[in-house]
């Protein structure tokens, strides 16, 4: 088996692995969500299915699969079907540009190292940004096509919300990009290798605390999670844009949401938490991705934590916050960063 085919195979393997991980991520996150919620509310959470309820997600999937496909009579056939596909596709595709591990030769298996990550584009940040911004269509279309006022409202809200928070999100990204001087996530990560004074890792979170905060908050809003979960604000909109959905089509939306969360966390890790860098030994032996996973897990846990701690905003408050606080803060942060870069010519 010569190098080229081996390499190709390994690439395919990496892609498949990533895909598999993402699917599982959504499943695991559902479980984690319910478990954490349980602990936070002095309950057990799911514990019947399998040990500690580990198989609960599986059961959920099975249940959803066997449900009946419902579609409102006046719903727009094509778009109604298209909507969930769009969102989930966008969710998966976005992750394609995210590197999750250093170059490795798999212990000398390859003569030239392979990069851990689906694709390595030199404008990765933009790609992620672009594709996630495509995700909004899924929700909007779902809301519009299912021809129900709850859905419509949910769709409108979520799209408005995503568009508003994309600004802050992108602006926060921009300052990191300026620091790293590159749009390629991999280069950004490698720029964070090493440490100050030997013990503080060179992560941008230390240079960009404000940016990191803005990014995380905007990320929560982007993924329509509490406290910004207006698209499905049960009390007001039953279930928001996916009120009319059922069965697999319904399943796709939360999956897309969790995958988006993962992507968000992964990008955050790459941009601010030094990706897979930080623990020298792991780096040396090509196990950096473990640390990467740990970081992602931590951020995801924070998401869940926030969701069950902070109450939901009012919609106008959300917009106020996004436009009048988050975005200006991001802009100021950007300007300050630019000034600092010019001054210290980093």
């Amino acid at each position: 088996m010569d190098q080229a085919t081996l390499r190709f195979a390994i690439q395919l393997g990496i892609i498949g692995l990533t895909f598999f991980m993402l699917i599982n991520a959504s499943a695991l996150l559902v479980l984690a969500e319910r478990k954490v919620m349980g602990f936070m509310q002095q309950r057990y959470g799911p514990y019947l299915v399998g040990p500690w309820g580990l198989l609960q997600p599986l059961a959920d999937i099975v249940k959803l699969l066997f449900k009946e496909e419902l579609r409102p009579k006046d719903a727009d056939k094509w778009l109604f079907t298209l909507a969930p596909i769009i969102s989930v596709t966008a969710a998966f595709a976005a992750f394609a540009a995210v590197p999750w591990g250093a170059e490795t030769t798999l212990f000398g298996l390859l003569d030239t190292p392979v990069k851990l990550g689906v694709a390595d584009v030199n404008v990765a940040v933009l790609v992620v940004f672009a594709i996630t911004s495509m995700g909004v269509y899924g929700i909007v279309l779902a809301g519009w096509s299912s021809n129900s006022k709850y859905s419509l409202l949910g769709g409108l809200r979520s799209s408005a919300q995503m568009i508003s928070y994309e600004l802050a999100y992108a602006t926060a990204l921009a300052s990191v990009i300026m620091l790293a001087g590159s749009l390629s996530l991999r280069e950004v990560v490698d720029a964070q290798n090493g440490s100050w004074f030997g013990f503080i890792p060179k992560w941008y979170v230390f240079l960009q605390p404000v940016g990191f905060l803005i990014y995380v908050i905007a990320g929560v809003a982007e993924t329509n999670r509490a406290p910004f979960d207006f698209p499905e604000a049960e009390q007001e909109l039953v279930a928001g844009y996916n009120t009319e959905y059922s069965s697999v089509r319904f399943a796709l939306f939360p999956q897309a949401e969790y995958i988006n969360m993962t992507t968000m966390a992964a990008v955050a890790t790459d941009l601010y938490l030094g990706g897979w860098h930080g623990i020298a030994i792991l780096d040396r032996y090509g196990f950096g991705w473990v640390f990467f996973l740990a970081k992602v897990g931590f951020i995801l846990f924070t998401y869940i934590w926030v969701r069950w701690t902070v109450p939901r905003y009012r919609y106008d408050q959300l917009m106020q916050f996004g436009w009048k606080w988050l975005f200006p803060a991001a802009v100021l942060n950007l300007i300050a960063t630019a000034a600092a870069i010019l001054y210290f010519n980093v």
């Binding site: 298209l82 030199n122 790609v127 940004f129 279309l141 519009w144 769709g155 409108l156 994309e166 749009l183």
Partner: protein
């Protein structure tokens, strides 16, 4: 070889999608198809070593402008376009005029073809000249944009501002005072 295939694939997608955009009556579908065509165009840009433009195409066009259209359609609850009513009163509705329009269209196509024929290096490969690294790097684009095209850039920013104000003023429902 592969890139030729890709090129034809994407251009066909773009053209078909655009044709369908104007081909049917539901603006919702039109928007969706247009987004598809934009995506194809973005791919073409990438082939032209302009990744940044491609991303901007998706973010700005597909991500922002089209959402705007989508909103409007949703807000107005996109009425199906009314069929052509051939009342004789309207100056443009007379068949004579229509024929004249068709003639003009034919003329335009002829002219376009003619113009294309007259392009000098139409047959030479697009990516014959220039080094890919420089052209495709965002850094170069930024540098040129903020030095040679500074004034134009500022002017456009003002234009955007004006457009923003104008849009707000126009769309704002006049409050009963």
């Amino acid at each position: 070889m592969s890139e030729t295939i890709l090129f034809y694939l994407f251009s066909v997608v773009a053209i078909l999608a655009s044709a369908l955009v104007i081909g049917q009556r539901n603006p919702m579908y039109s928007i969706m198809l247009l987004i598809a065509s934009f995506g194809a165009l973005a791919a073409l840009y990438i082939q032209l070593d302009a990744p940044f433009v491609a991303m901007a195409q998706i973010i700005v066009y597909a991500g922002a402008i089209m959402v705007l259209f989508l909103f409007v359609v949703m807000l107005l609850n996109a009425p199906q376009e009314d069929a052509a009513v051939w009342d004789r009163t309207h100056p443009l509705r007379r068949p004579g005029v229509a024929r004249f329009g068709a003639l003009l269209a034919g003329l335009l196509i002829v002219q376009l073809v003619w113009a294309l024929v007259r392009v000098n290096d139409a047959s030479t490969a697009v990516n014959a000249r220039g080094d890919v690294a420089a052209i495709s790097s965002v850094r170069t684009v930024g540098r040129v944009l903020f030095t040679d095209y500074m004034f134009a850039f500022e002017a456009t920013s003002i234009l955007i501002l004006v457009a923003m104000v104008g849009a707000v003023v126009l769309a704002a429902r006049e409050t009963a005072s």
